[in-house]
């Protein structure tokens, strides 16, 4: 059962335009969400996060939006740059037996075209 879903495996965007990456989740108990960026043959790196008590968090070119009623979050990158080309994972924080862990989506490969 995939609790965190990224339904678009890939996305291509022209440089300078907006990139929108989407993520859906099923568990209403998730209270914290993160986006990670991953280049090939490297570990993911943290990009931006949002708490469930907020609906928007912004950091430079990156903005994450959370719609709790729809159990949906999105990452906006404006303007998109070629260096943004990577795989993006959304992750939701869950708690099992008193231990925190993050459940990841399947990732979306973003390609920014110069």
């Amino acid at each position: 059962d995939q609790q965190v879903k990224q339904n678009s495996p890939s996305l291509s965007v022209q440089e300078g335009r907006i990139s929108i990456l989407n993520c859906d989740y099923t568990n209403s108990m998730f209270d914290y969400f993160l986006w990670y960026k991953k280049y090939p043959a490297e570990g993911p790196t943290f990009l931006i996060s949002i708490s469930s008590i907020k609906d928007k968090n912004e950091d430079g070119r990156f903005t994450v939006f959370l719609n709790k009623s729809a159990k949906h979050l999105s990452l906006h990158i404006v303007p998109s740059q070629p260096g943004d080309s990577a795989v993006y994972f959304c992750a939701a924080k869950g708690r099992t037996s008193g231990t925190y862990k993050y459940i990841f989506g399947t990732g979306t490969r973003l390609k920014v075209l110069a």
């Binding site: 990224q6 993160l34 043959a41 490297e42 570990g43 993911p44 790196t45 231990t99 925190y100 990841f104």
Partner: protein
């Protein structure tokens, strides 16, 4: 600051051979540690996590095992590798406070041939 070291970076192993991947952390004590796998075309799948020495929780039944012999050491092992064990293995450390998310190691690309 917290850092996480993982090795080797790449590994090619024949089917049926054993496996040992090591992960060590610095800059923190009693961390929560995790092993994830990214298989081709799939997301990051949690394999094991550990909240302390000798404490291992398995998320999915598989051909792998994990051990935590020391506070800052987390090991992923297999007695006999299968072709399906191929993938990119990542060790992760939960940041100070769960809302800091993970710090990941640089990963190990395992190819079973």
């Amino acid at each position: 600051s917290q850092t996480i070291h993982q090795w080797p970076a790449t590994l090619v192993q024949p089917v049926g051979s054993p496996l040992s991947l090591e992960c060590t952390v610095e800059g923190t004590s009693n961390p929560n540690l995790y092993w994830y796998r990214q298989a081709a075309g799939r997301g990051l799948q949690l394999l094991f996590y550990s909240v302390g020495i000798g404490q291992i929780s398995s998320e999915v039944p598989q051909n792998l095992s994990a051990s935590r012999p020391q506070d800052r050491q987390f090991i992923l092992s297999s007695k006999k590798l299968l072709l399906s064990d191929s993938g990119f293995y990542l060790c992760a450390l939960l940041g100070a406070g769960a809302n800091y998310g993970y710090t990941f190691g640089s990963g190990t690309r395992l190819t079973v041939v």
